[in-house]
Symmetry: C2
Subunit: 222 residues, 2 copies
């Protein structure tokens, strides 16, 4: 069976899980505590990061967006990148937006400080970074709201990796109670639609020792 | 004519210039001072970042790696991603390595502090960041050296976007004299090969007011 090395609250890992599940490609997950990883894991991904997908015949695919592009090329079925050049540009623009801009401005400041430091036992949360993360999150929720107000899905008329990448980040932040949905009605409507997809179910049942998600985290009608 | 909005010392912009030139796709460049950009540019790229490629018929493609994927799909000719699934995974892994990991660990600390702050007139260089950038650069030069010692090109047997992304970053750092090539003989041999390609010529003639590149910057036999 193919294996996905992951961490429950890693947005890139969640993007990979959603990408596989949307395509109904079966996989097993293995938690990889990257701060303890040795040579075996470094051989799979020299960046020492999750996710890494390993096919049954041994092919290793490291990184959320690399896995997304790989699945599109290696497996048949509906596209999650889009059909036209314009759609594919927009999907990749947003995939990059979430994996780089949102990550640097929000997720690294909130998940990095509040989750990664705690579970790895390395460092103490930096209050300045956390405050910056919250401030940036408001701007990003407005942008997600604006996109979902003007389009059926974030990238356009159909569900794409743009939705999966955005939902991957937001679901991690929602798990630690960092999203005030009352301030973001349009983003909330869009997130409710993504959250109710079968591909999302496993994410809603994630457990992490020492963290208790708020009651609305699992609620499809939050 | 298609237009590339860029900044001379933006690694992502240089990746786009190299990607277009390697494919012999003609383009004009326009310098876009993103810290002054208004609504017109934000409509092309809401992230307010260069590069943005605008085709003659109006299609806008924002971001170095998005442009790389777009060129691969929109234009015929030799691939810069690789032919097999394995090659394309390795190219994208390294493209991501340079555009995210190298950028965050090295370029943001050196180019961001020493160049971007100066030309935009915003902020003063942070010595701690600069020291971190130099320390991380040594590790990355070793990794580039290891790759080029064991393969013809960074991604494998042929030139790919992995080489162009790496050379885009290193050429910006070389312009400000931040690379000690005497410490990195294998990386230097690889860089000399990339630097002597016709696609690189325009980059070697870049000028930036207030910055004088070291004499070896333009030298193909440095």
């Amino acid at each position: 069976m193919r294996i996905l090395y992951h961490l429950p609250l890693s947005p890139q890992s969640r993007l990979a899980r959603l990408s596989l599940s949307e395509r109904r490609i079966p996989f097993e997950t293995r938690v990889e505590n990257v701060w303890e990883s040795g040579e075996d894991f470094l051989a799979l991904n020299p960046a020492r990061e999750v996710p890494v997908l390993v096919e049954e015949y041994g092919l290793a695919v490291p990184g959320g967006s690399v896995i997304a592009e790989y699945l599109e090329e290696a497996y048949t079925g509906a596209t999650l990148l889009g059909h036209t050049l314009e759609e594919r540009i927009e999907t990749r623009r947003l995939l990059n937006w979430f994996d780089v801009k949102f990550h640097n401005e929000v997720s690294r400041n909130l998940l990095g400080e509040k989750v990664d430091k705690r579970i790895s036992g390395r460092g103490t949360p930096d209050g300045t970074a956390i405050r910056a993360g919250y401030a940036n999150l408001r701007f990003h929720l407005d942008y997600i709201g604006w996109l979902s107000e003007t389009r059926a899905w974030l990238g356009g008329a159909q569900l794409t990796y743009a939705d999966l990448a955005a939902a991957a980040h937001l679901s991690c932040l929602d798990f630690i109670g960092d999203i005030d949905w009352s301030r973001a009605p349009f983003a909330k409507d869009w997130y409710a639609r993504v959250k109710s997809r079968p591909s999302f179910r496993a994410l809603l049942h994630d457990k992490l020792p020492g963290f208790t998600p708020p009651p609305y985290y699992m609620d499809l009608d939050f």
